[in-house]
Each structure stands twice: as C-alpha cells, then as structure tokens.
Symmetry: C2
Amino acid sequence: MEKLSEEAINKNLENLEGWEYAKNAIHTSFQFANFKDAFTVMTRIAFEAEAQQHHPNWANVYNELEISLSTHEAGGVTEKDFKLARAIEEIVEAG
Amino acid sequence: MEKLSEEAINKNLENLEGWEYAKNAIHTSFQFANFKDAFTVMTRIAFEAEAQQHHPNWANVYNELEISLSTHEAGGVTEKDFKLARAIEEIVEAG
C-alpha cells in the first residue's frame, strides 16, 4: 500500500466533509449526545476497523470522539485510510 | 464530591499499581495482544463507566490504551476517579 501524495490526499478529502490532513494523517472529530451514543458508534467503528484490519488512532472523553487515520507501514496516508474514513462517515450518518 | 489533596491522592495511588498523578489527573496505560483484546476491555470499562456515571479520558491505537481520570466538576481528582480506576484494574486483571 503506497503513501499518497498531498495532491491525492486533498483530492480524496474533497469527498469527506469534516476531515483534514495534518502531520501525516487525516483527522476528524464528532460530538454525540452523551457517552453511550459515542461508545455505540465507537463499537461499530471497531468492528469495521477489525474487518478491514486497519485501526484508528482515537480518543474519547464523554460525548467527544477524535479520530486520526494513517498507515504505519507506509509512513503516511494511503487508500486504506480513506476506505476506513468513508466507512466511519457511513456509520456516523446511520447512527 | 471534593477534590482530593495531593497527599490523599498519593495515599490512594499506593494501592493502584501502574497509575500516576500528573496534571490534575491520574493516568495509566495498558498493552494488549491486539486491537480486539484492547477493544474488548474498553467495552467492559465503558459499561462500568456508564454505570458509575463517571467517564474516562482515553485514547487507543491498535493494542495500546491510555487512560486518564479526573473529575471535571471538582477540577481535579476525587474518590470517583479512584473508584473507576479500581474497577478498571479489576476488569483488566480478569481479562
């Protein structure tokens, strides 16, 4: 899996609302009604991440969730990150 | 729920291996075999946190889990944090 160029990353980001590229990773954050709602979404994302064998770098406190995606082996952002990011968006929109 | 003194915090920490006090919170970290094991423990902690109505500030990437506990309303560490910390230790030890 090849590291994407900044141009390719920015092109991919056009189709992902609320995500930005910084420090060799793509980032977003979500705010839910409460902890239970946040963790429900995290659980769905966890199953998807495990299925994709690609895992987020994420932090949660109460109703807030911050997610960063990058591909360790590639030293940057790859198509794997965008695949997981799109799945995360679908999960959050369906939630 | 009253903010504990640094003396009381250090006394409580004596009974909690692997936790330390810094920046007005208590902190620990765990390493698991893989993501699935890490998220399994996170799920158990999530249910416990919700039951206690006291939630962690936590971050995960793959098999690593970092946890910080403090009591927002008290502006520091309270007995609530130690109650949750002890429950987390029990969950991890049982895991």
